[in-house]
């Protein structure tokens, strides 16, 4: 099961890289929640930068084509550090390191866009892993001009 859980995390990043949002949502539980957080040493507070339930993230994806967005590809590099399975609760907690790179369309220069960690809660209902919750804890706060695409 641990391998299947790791593959779920890796696959979720591959699908976001490919901007295959339907494919990404297919990996998510009906009660999926997605959050991006960061701590600000300037104001000495935790900040929430994105927080959506499943319907919110679906709306976010659906409305993307109506917006002007930076077309530069984002590429996620993830390493799963720990997988902790709670069989009684049919759930697993996964901690992964996250690096996101941005590649310019003109010339193809790649640079580091953000680093942080993924804290995933994986549902194991019926023995099939689904993302129930993803919390992205960013170390990087200078996200250049930002992005419309979840990390």
């Amino acid at each position: 099961m641990s391998d299947a859980i790791k593959e779920l995390v890796y696959r979720s990043c591959l699908l976001l890289d490919a901007r295959d949002f339907e494919g990404f949502l297919a990996l998510c539980h009906a009660n999926f929640r997605y959050t991006v957080r960061a701590y600000s040493p300037e104001i000495r507070r935790d900040m929430v930068w994105l927080d959506h339930d499943r319907s919110g993230i679906e709306a976010l994806f659906r409305t993307l084509p109506r917006h002007h967005s930076d077309p530069s590809p984002l590429t996620r590099h993830v390493t799963v550090y720990t997988v902790t399975i709670d069989e009684a609760a049919a759930r697993a907690n996964v901690v992964s390191a996250l690096q996101v790179f941005r590649t310019a369309l003109d010339g193809g220069a790649t640079h580091l866009f953000a680093i942080g960690k993924l804290y995933d809660t994986v549902s194991l209902d019926d023995g099939v892993p689904h993302l129930a919750k993803r919390e992205v804890q960013l170390d990087t706060r200078a996200l250049e001009i930002g992005t419309h695409i979840p990390l």
């Binding site: 300037e42 104001i43 900040m47 409305t63 917006h67 200078a142 001009i145 419309h148 979840p150």
Partner: protein, 399 residues
């Protein structure tokens, strides 16, 4: 029809007040002059009082005139600002962007200073300086500091000049009654952008660019009242924009917002303060932009989101949600604004790009797509710089 090189160089057939010379965004000489003639003589918003709630709390600030400052709250409750420089050997006194200290002690040679800027300790002074130098001779460089509407802390690196109240005048008049309750910063972000600071402030000073924002088109431009919003210019280059009722429910997934004391439902007031500060009170959230120019084509923008200090956890959660929907790093509008100004930054990265003139000539009776806000900014810029914004090097033969 397309224009050849000579035609491209011709001045627009508009009044000189209705366009700007592209070199205002690229010229190094103009940039250095702006730092001294504008930023070193103007009140600048440095932080909010909620960032320094306790005695000894400090906060650093990169002042747009180039000075590095530290603001610190004293035992008497007053916030004072100083250069963040040890007068001994020029080391930075504090390195973290915020913290708390009973005294500011330089890690280099252990000189220490109190919250009023007095030197309170010179390590082995008697042995090294004998009677040639005393603590009273080496106090910190103080910077004028005043509290403004809403609890914001303003600084002015010039020793003299008008008070903050005189500088602001009535520009915040529409907002001030709505900023009477204690506020709290919940969002802070620094964004380093390759563009000129004026291009960011220009964007905040005209709503014609709502065409880039799908969110604003469906919740604002297509709704009653949008085209009745009016600009009001104020002395010293400031301008404010009147309100309307924004229909947040018209955006998919959008929801009505919880509102703000004294603000009508869906209300939205915006005030642009010369030379690069924007107060943006949009229904449930106050956003503050502070533009800190780093070079002709480089600006650091400090973005703050504020709610009420008395917010319940649920109220704060809703304000944060509203903020992030359009103004967060993943928000719909902020990213689009950055796309626009970085596109300008690429086109105006230096003089060789030959971007001759930028237009701000729309006149619509000072309503929302009138570019009066931008014109008002450049009138003040010209006054302070002693140069015409449409002809900064006085090359044209006739006015």
């Amino acid at each position: 029809m397309p224009r050849n090189a000579a035609e491209w160089a011709e001045r627009p057939n508009l009044p000189r007040t209705h366009y700007v010379d592209g070199r205002l965004y690229t010229d190094e000489v103009l940039f250095r002059e702006e730092q001294e003639k504008i930023f070193a003589r103007t009140w600048i918003l440095a932080c909010h009082e909620s960032e320094l709630p306790h005695a000894g709390d400090y906060r650093t600030f990169s002042h747009p005139a180039g000075r590095n400052l530290v603001l610190i709250r004293g035992e008497d409750g007053a916030v004072r600002a100083f250069y963040n420089i040890c007068p001994h050997r020029g080391n930075s006194l504090v390195r973290e962007p915020a913290g708390n200290a009973k005294a500011l002690t330089c890690i280099f040679h252990a000189w220490s200073f109190d919250c009023r800027g007095n030197c309170t300790g010179i390590a082995r002074r008697k042995e090294g300086f004998q009677d040639r130098l005393a603590a009273r001779d080496v106090g910190l460089r103080s910077v004028r500091t005043e509290a403004g509407p809403g609890g914001f802390v303003w600084v002015n690196v010039a020793d003299d000049g008008p008070s903050l109240a005189h500088y602001l005048g009535d520009a915040l008049g529409a907002l001030a009654p709505r900023l009477s309750e204690p506020l709290e910063v919940f969002h802070f972000q620094k964004v380093h952008v390759r563009t000129n600071y004026k291009l960011w402030h220009d964007t905040n000073s005209e709503f014609y660019h709502d065409f880039i924002h799908y969110f604003n088109r469906v919740t604002g431009m297509q709704q009653p009242g949008y085209f009745e919003r009016r600009y009001a210019p104020f002395p010293n280059g400031h301008v404010s924009v009147g309100s309307m009722r924004v229909r947040y429910d018209q955006y998919e997934g959008g929801q009505e917002r919880i509102g703000w004391p004294g603000l009508e439902p869906g209300g939205w007031y915006l005030v642009d303060l010369f030379p690069g500060i924007t107060f943006n009170l949009r229904t449930s959230v106050l956003r503050i932009d502070t533009a800190i120019p780093l070079g002709p084509n480089e600006v650091l923008i400090e973005l703050r989101g504020l709610g009420l200090a008395r917010d319940t956890p649920r109220e704060r959660e809703l304000r944060v949600r509203d903020h992030n929907a359009i103004w967060g790093p993943f928000g719909r509008n902020l990213h689009e604004d950055f796309l626009a100004v970085t596109g300008q930054g690429a086109s105006l990265r230096n003089a060789s790009t030959d971007t001759r003139f930028l237009l701000h000539g729309r006149e619509e009776n000072a309503t929302i797509h009138d570019e009066i806000g931008v014109r008002h900014f450049y009138a003040e810029w010209s006054r302070r710089m002693g140069r015409s914004s449409s002809d900064p090097f006085a090359e044209a033969s006739a006015p």
